[in-house]
Symmetry: C2
């Protein structure tokens, strides 16, 4: 019954990934940018969950593919994907999460569940407005924002209270 920004827990993630990947490919083509096999593979790896993954986790996944790239290879691919808005960085975790709506221009604000580990992108006009107003009042020219709210998502709150005892 929650109006959660998180994906429904048992959603069809295969379809979710496939569609997002297709969207990224279309966007890259439109922009004349090259979503090379390596970049595409890195994006797939990050898309595999709705949880932030570390650069070295990506490195590990590539290693399991058989390639044995060094860190710069991964960081370069991630830099490209970030520049395209296909992936966002979670500063409070030194990790990266896929964007599941790369076509929409948006600010990158997140909810991070400490229990299930999922990251949800927030799209909230009132919050955007409040941030803009805060900067304006200080005479500050905002260029980039890091907004990450950590806590418990709706699903995990329910599970936790169910686990403790009375519903």
């Amino acid at each position: 019954m929650s109006t959660s920004a998180f994906p429904l827990s048992p959603h069809n993630h295969q379809a979710c990934m496939r569609e997002t990947l297709a969207e990224a490919e279309a966007l890259a083509a439109t922009r004349g940018e090259r979503l090379t096999p390596l970049r595409r593979r890195v994006l797939e790896i990050v898309l595999e969950s709705h949880r932030p993954v570390g650069a070295y986790d990506v490195l590990g996944a590539l290693a399991r593919d058989g390639a044995r790239p060094a860190p710069p290879t991964v960081y370069r691919a991630l830099d490209f994907l970030r520049a395209q808005g296909f992936v966002h960085r979670i500063d409070s975790r030194n990790a990266f999460v896929a964007c599941f709506a790369p076509a929409k221009a948006h600010r990158c604000h997140f909810l991070l569940c400490r229990r299930c580990g999922r990251a949800a992108e927030i799209l909230d006009a009132a919050l955007d407005q409040a941030l803009a107003e805060t900067a304006r009042q200080a005479g500050f020219a905002a260029e980039r924002e890091t907004v990450e709210i950590a806590g418990l998502c709706a699903d995990c709150r329910e599970d936790a209270s169910a686990g403790v005892g009375a519903a």
Copy 2:
């Protein structure tokens, strides 16, 4: 003429430091916590500017004092100071900044100027409210927030436009 959250540029920083340090000492005493010489010295080092400093910068400063502590010493002191609210962590920079109002309970939201490097703490009820409302709508139980807005502070905007040409 800006209502800047940043300190006035040529403020009396000696007094600023001294007062904040005294406030921290009083708070620690009240709480029965021990602001030892090491912790106090680390706090002084972080207080020396309104810019975030890295843990290894602190380490360097301690080394110049003559002590040669290893990283855990610095991280432990910083952990203590953070727990007391005397220092905050800037996630987007892996760095630490002093709190100049440690007695006031507050959420830790920052403006970060990319030109002068200063960090300003934001105290904005409307922003707090918007963040709370965003979480509430998602059924999310917020526990900690990282809010860091990077850009140009009012002083640096003026300098930059002055530098370019017409005032």
